[in-house]
């Protein structure tokens, strides 16, 4: 997937735990793990908005586009 999720980086910067983020956003820890590992197929705007609000960051801080090798 060309979209890289930098949630771990942001959580480390803000010194926050995954469980706290999941509870604040209203998703399960498992779903948050799916998001962090890049296995998610899609993310709702409402979820993205809640994450950005909790981490006090921009969308670009969480999602990054990386052109795939060879393309």
């Amino acid at each position: 997937m060309a979209i890289v999720v930098n949630l771990d980086v942001m959580l480390a910067k803000r010194k926050l735990k995954s469980q706290d983020l999941a509870a604040a956003v209203g998703i399960t820890v498992q779903n948050l793990s799916i998001l962090k590992t890049g296995k998610a197929k899609a993310i709702r705007f409402s979820t993205l908005s809640a994450i950005c609000s909790y981490l006090e960051c921009d969308v670009g801080d969480i999602l990054q586009y990386q052109a795939e090798l060879g393309s």
């Binding site: 799916i34 998610a40 197929k41 899609a42 709702r44």
Partner: protein, 183 residues
């Protein structure tokens, strides 16, 4: 759709179908064991005929053991289709009772049920031919009959519809998978 009553109903239906998978072969075996007698004589008083013998042979002569054995084996041409369809349907209802609705297993079972219906109906004339031949070959006037009725055509169409439903389930399963991975 996910109510308790719905799940309970699916569970009961799956149990009934599993029982049918066992009862049907036993009934076939018992029928041929006591053939050409009627299995449930009171049923005939109400116009209900429970017989594997063709309607054209309502009063067949005494059957030899060899004829009974052959008749039992030939009965498995449609019998295997019936048992498989009951088994596949039971598994589908069992999964529905556990709220697993759009599953690749259902796609597989629905496709196989469709193939079983196709093959069963296409083999029906062969079944008729073999059964009539076996039942009458030792008589003075052996008769073979071949039939392909409206019922067979309707069941063929049902097979096509089942194949379409399987494709719909396949599309639904991919949508469900994408939905499950949408955070």
């Amino acid at each position: 759709m996910h109510s308790t009553k719905y799940m309970t109903l699916c569970r009961y239906i799956s149990v009934l179908l599993y029982i049918a998978c066992v009862v049907y072969p036993c009934w076939v075996a018992y029928f041929w064991y006591q053939a050409p007698g009627v299995v449930f004589s009171p049923a005939q008083d109400y116009g209900l005929r429970l017989s594997l013998l063709p309607a054209s042979m309502l009063h067949p002569q005494q059957l030899t053991s060899m004829v009974k054995c052959l008749g039992f084996m030939i009965s498995w041409i449609p019998g295997a289709v019936v048992v498989y369809i009951c088994y596949a349907a039971a598994n589908i209802f069992h999964n529905l009772a556990q709220q697993r609705i759009f599953s690749l297993l259902h796609v597989k079972y629905l496709r196989n049920m469709a193939y079983a219906l196709f093959i069963g109906q296409l083999l029906h004339p062969v079944y008729d031919l073999l059964l009539s031949g076996v039942l009458s070959w030792h008589t003075e006037h052996p008769v073979v009959s071949v039939s392909f009725t409206v019922t067979n055509i309707v069941l063929l169409v049902c097979g096509i519809l089942l194949m379409i439903v399987a494709q719909v389930f396949l599309a639904a399963q991919s949508i469900q998978a994408e939905q499950d991975l949408t955070i």
